[in-house]
Structure formats: structure tokens, C-alpha cells
């Protein structure tokens, strides 16, 4: 098994509302997958299932060959204990629509926190690494700023640095530019483009069609909890096969 993410018939229900109705897909190492679709189509929920922020109801989900949230022995599934779930989450970076930076910590402290507390790296080493990361996302002069003193674009770049500080093998982006002023979108996309060029495996839920076309290796179009179509960005975006995809793209392009 070589896929970084593999989903087979993933279902997710919230009460009686079925949000995911059988998602099957694969993300190869180094691949950038962009998930498009209208709001309510289940793309964010699927992303959250990948690092077990949501429990799936049926189907199977693997990250790097290991089941997400469960251990299989024979044909029986055992729930993983909390510390195991945490250990696996530590290897997957996630970037949120609303940034979710820790408000009581400076930019540097935000990036240092998890490596020191979770990975138990020495504070000096973690701080040096955090400085490098913040410099890499273009925030060398903002180490000591609190999130409330940063613009949305700067906050999101700190959030990306915070996720990268754990040396993740996979990065999940949940509409990373949707809460940003239009003129700040570019700086975040630039950082993501850089990451993709460095070979990071990325799953990106986005409304930025331009980014999907330029950076994405695959584009997946979701609607009402199912994958409507998936393929190379050029094919999907230029000549969609399904009416639903065509209708969506005509509105956002």
C-alpha cells in the first residue's frame, strides 16, 4: 500500500443527516489534491475525518497505510486509545478556515508549543526551528506579535508554520483563504504553492479555482456527500463531464 490517504466507501452521519455517502479516493505521496464543491457538500467533513476530528460511521480510511482511529485484528476493529490517536494526529498538519491561532501566545510561541509539549523537543531547538519556519512564510519581523495584532493573511501563515513545525507527512487545508480579505489571499496561496513545490502531500478544500488549476495534481468535485468527478485539473475544470460540475464552475469562474 503506497497511497498517503486512501478512502473506501467512507460514510459519515450527524444524527439522521448523512453528510458523506460513500467517498472513495486515493492521494499519492507528493500529490496535491484540491477538493471543490458547494458548501454543505461534505468536503470539510471529509477533511476532518482524515485526522479523526470526526469519527466515520462506515467504510475505511487509511493514512500512510494505517487505519485512521482504529486497529484491525482479523476482521475485528478496536478503537485506538486517546494517546495513539494523538500520536497519529501529530503527523498530520491541519490549517483551518478561521486560523485558530492560540490567542494568548505570540506567533513564535504558537509555533513552538506543539514541538515542545508533544514531541518533547528542547525549547532552544524548537525556537530555532520556529524562527526558520516563520522566516520561510515571510514573517521574520512578527515573532513577538500576538494573533490579534496580525492581519488575517499573516495569521494564516503563522498557522501554516505552526502545522509545519511538527514535520507532518501530510497537510490538510480547510478553505484556508475563505476568511481573508481578497488582497491577502495571494500571500497565503504563495506559501502553499511553495510547499507544494517542495513535495509536500496536500489535501486542499478550496474555492480558489485558479490555485487548483495551477498547483493541483488532481481535482475532486464533491456534491451532496459524493464525489461527482475527479481527475486532472485541466480536464475537470476545462471540460467537466457532469452537469452539476458544469453548473458549479460556471458560477465560480
Amino acid at each position: 500500500m503506497s497511497a498517503m490517504v486512501k478512502a473506501e466507501g467512507v460514510h459519515k452521519r450527524f444524527g439522521r443527516l448523512e453528510v458523506l455517502k460513500g467517498i472513495s479516493l486515493e492521494v499519492q505521496p507528493g500529490e496535491v489534491m484540491c477538493i471543490l464543491g458547494p458548501s454543505g457538500s461534505g468536503k470539510t467533513t471529509f477533511l476532518r475525518c482524515i485526522n479523526h476530528l470526526e469519527k466515520i460511521n462506515s467504510g475505511r480510511l487509511w493514512v500512510d497505510g494505517e487505519l485512521v482511529g482504529y486497529r484491525q485484528a482479523g476482521d475485528r476493529l478496536f478503537e485506538l486509545p486517546d494517546n495513539e490517536v494523538c500520536r497519529k494526529r501529530a503527523e498530520i498538519g491541519m490549517v483551518f478556515q478561521r486560523f485558530n491561532l492560540f490567542g494568548h501566545m505570540t506567533a513564535l510561541e504558537n509555533v513552538v508549543e506543539a514541538p515542545v509539549r508533544v514531541r518533547r523537543i528542547s525549547k532552544d531547538r524548537a525556537t530555532a526551528a520556529a524562527r526558520d519556519l516563520l522566516t520561510r512564510v515571510g514573517l521574520a519581523d512578527k515573532y513577538d506579535s500576538y494573533p490579534s495584532q496580525l492581519s488575517g493573511g499573516q495569521q494564516q501563515r503563522v498557522a501554516i508554520a505552526r502545522a509545519l513545525a511538527m514535520n507532518p507527512k501530510l497537510m490538510l487545508f480547510d478553505e484556508p483563504t475563505s476568511a481573508l480579505d481578497p488582497e491577502l489571499v495571494g500571500e497565503v496561496l504563495d506559501v502553499m504553492r511553495g510547499l507544494a513545490n517542495d513535495g509536500m502531500t496536500m489535501v486542499v478544500v478550496t474555492h480558489e479555482i485558479g490555485f487548483a488549476r495551477e498547483v493541483g495534481d488532481t481535482v475532486v468535485f464533491m456534491d451532496e456527500g459524493v464525489v461527482v468527478e475527479a481527475g486532472k485539473p485541466r480536464e475537470i475544470l476545462a471540460s467537466p463531464q457532469h452537469e452539476r460540475t458544469r453548473a458549479f464552475l460556471s458560477k465560480v469562474l
Partner: protein, 308 residues
């Protein structure tokens, strides 16, 4: 041409207009000044205040000793209250229904009975359980403590006030925890932090901003609630002056002595609260607490007659 071109007729200097006359404000100020004067004169000339007695006992050793006991009792019961409050708030929010209902029952019981009753109850706990041991019920015992000799009135008062405070504090802490955005927990989890680590490093520090102001209130309230333990003869501030006036019948002057001390400590605590709030408000530019004295002084300087 833009509208700025017409500005040539407007003088560039700062506006210095003649202020509106606030006749009502001046009348109110005069009335209040008169009232303060009247009260001051009455307090100074009414011999029955017995200021010399107040001065005599104000810094006397039984009163100072009582003050120290009051402070110790306030500090220890608040420490117990805050520790229990955090534990029970976290329990209350636990996904385990048994744990959360245990917390609910605790809060229900200790908020539901008068603190005065709890104080007396703890004082007489020795009558209910003369001995206290750790072991298995109906099985072997490992340690053994004589309750009567360990539960002194001070300990009884501390336990009663602390356990009671824990119930109130847990509601305050819970409100604080709930006020922290869910996204903070999710971000911490996505970084691989455990539930406990997330609570300790991410949620509680940010909840403090909401928890501190009511906790300051609780501390000030506790300072005065400690006077209730006078009923079980703990020699705190109120009991100390009671002992004196039982002997000398100078009831009012001695109550004034105690009141002045309560006011002094309350004032000091309010200042402490300002600095604690400012520390936990870091990272949040808005809603910084005000320094009451400084704000007051600025507003005085702003009154026209003081303004140059």
C-alpha cells in the same frame, strides 16, 4: 477641484470652542459636597462614635491577630475553592456521564445548603465520625486519624468555606471554559495534543480572562464571609472584636474597627485584581481593564476649572 480646495477659508489650528455650561452638574456637585460635609461634621462631633476607642483598638494585638487569621482563612479557603472549582468544572464537561453527574451533585449539594449550616456541621463532624481512616469499607484499614484532635475550629471553617466556594467556583470556571472558541481545542488536537494538555496549555489560560473578574468578586466576598466562622469561635477579625466588646460594651466603635480593616483589605484586593486581569488579558488588545484611580484622576483633570 476636490472639496479640499475650498478648505483654504478654514483656519488650520485646533478647535477651541467655548464649552457648554452644565448647570445641573454644578448643582449636583454642590449638593454632594454639602452632604459629605454634613456627614463628616456629624461623625466628628458625635461623641458616641468614640474615636479614641477606635484609635486605641485599631492596631491592638488581638485585632491584628484576628486580621491575620481572617487573611489566612480567606487565602486557604479560596485556594481550596479554586482548586476544587477547576476539578469539578472539568469533570462537569467530561464526556463520561457518571463523572459529570458526580460534579453536578457536588454543586447541587454545596450550593443548596446555607454556608453557616456547613460551618457548624464541619465543626461537629467529630460527633459523626470520631475517627477517620483510609482503607476498604468493612475490610482492612491502612491509616487512622483521630478527627477531634485534627478538625480544629479553624480547619472546620476552612473546609466548610473551601468546599462551599468550590461549588461556586466550578460554575465560574465552567463559564470560562465554554467561552473559549471550539477552534482552539480543534487546533490543539490537530497538533496531537492530548485532552489534558489542551485544557492546561490552551483552554484554561484563555478562560482565565473570563474567570478572573468574578473570582476577584468571590475573593472579596470570601473575605467577609469568613466572619461567619465567628459562630464556631475561630478568633478571626469579627470574633476578636466581639471578645473585646463583650467585656467593654463598646460595641459600635469595635465594629467600626473591624469594618475599617475589611475595607482596607478589600481595597488592596481590588488593586491586585487589576494587575492579574491585565496579565491574563495579554494578546487581547481590547477590553483591557481600567486602572480605576488613574481614570478617576484623568477625569478630575478634565474638569474645566482644573484645565489650563
Amino acid at each position: 477641484m476636490t472639496s479640499g480646495g475650498a478648505a483654504s477659508a478654514v483656519p488650520p489650528e485646533e478647535i477651541r470652542a467655548i464649552p457648554v455650561r452644565h448647570t445641573g452638574r454644578w448643582l449636583a456637585a454642590v449638593a454632594i459636597a454639602f452632604l459629605i460635609y454634613a456627614v463628616a461634621v456629624s461623625m466628628a462631633t458625635n461623641k458616641r462614635f468614640q474615636w479614641s476607642v477606635i484609635r486605641h483598638y485599631f492596631a491592638s494585638s488581638p485585632v491584628l491577630h484576628g486580621l491575620v487569621v481572617t487573611l489566612e482563612l480567606t487565602a486557604t479557603s479560596m485556594a481550596i475553592g479554586i482548586a476544587l472549582g477547576i476539578v469539578f468544572a472539568v469533570m462537569r464537561l467530561s464526556p463520561n456521564p457518571l463523572v459529570s453527574s458526580a460534579s453536578w451533585v457536588y454543586i447541587w449539594f454545596f450550593r443548596g445548603t446555607p454556608v453557616l449550616v456547613q460551618i457548624i456541621f464541619w465543626n461537629f463532624i467529630g460527633a459523626l465520625y470520631p475517627h477517620f481512616g483510609i482503607g476498604i469499607p468493612l475490610g482492612p484499614q491502612f491509616t487512622h486519624v483521630d478527627v477531634a484532635s485534627h478538625i480544629t475550629p479553624f480547619v472546620a471553617g476552612m473546609l466548610a468555606l473551601g468546599l462551599n466556594e468550590g461549588a461556586y467556583m466550578s460554575e465560574i470556571v465552567r463559564a470560562g471554559i465554554i467561552s473559549v472558541d471550539e477552534g482552539q481545542t480543534e487546533a490543539a488536537q490537530s497538533l496531537g495534543m492530548t485532552r489534558l494538555l489542551t485544557m492546561r496549555r490552551i483552554v484554561l489560560p484563555q478562560a482565565m480572562r473570563v474567570i478572573i473578574p468574578p473570582t476577584g468578586n468571590e475573593t472579596i466576598s470570601m473575605l467577609k464571609t469568613t466572619s461567619l466562622v465567628s459562630v464556631i469561635a475561630v478568633t478571626e477579625l469579627l470574633y476578636s472584636v466581639q471578645v473585646i466588646y463583650a467585656r467593654t460594651y463598646q460595641i459600635i466603635p469595635l465594629l467600626i474597627v473591624a469594618s475599617i480593616w475589611y475595607l482596607i483589605v478589600t481595597t488592596i484586593l481590588s488593586f491586585g485584581q487589576y494587575y492579574v486581569e491585565r496579565y491574563y488579558g495579554r494578546g487581547v488588545s481590547r477590553n483591557q481593564p481600567e486602572n480605576v484611580l488613574l481614570t478617576w484622576w484623568r477625569s478630575v483633570l478634565d474638569v474645566p476649572i482644573f484645565r489650563r
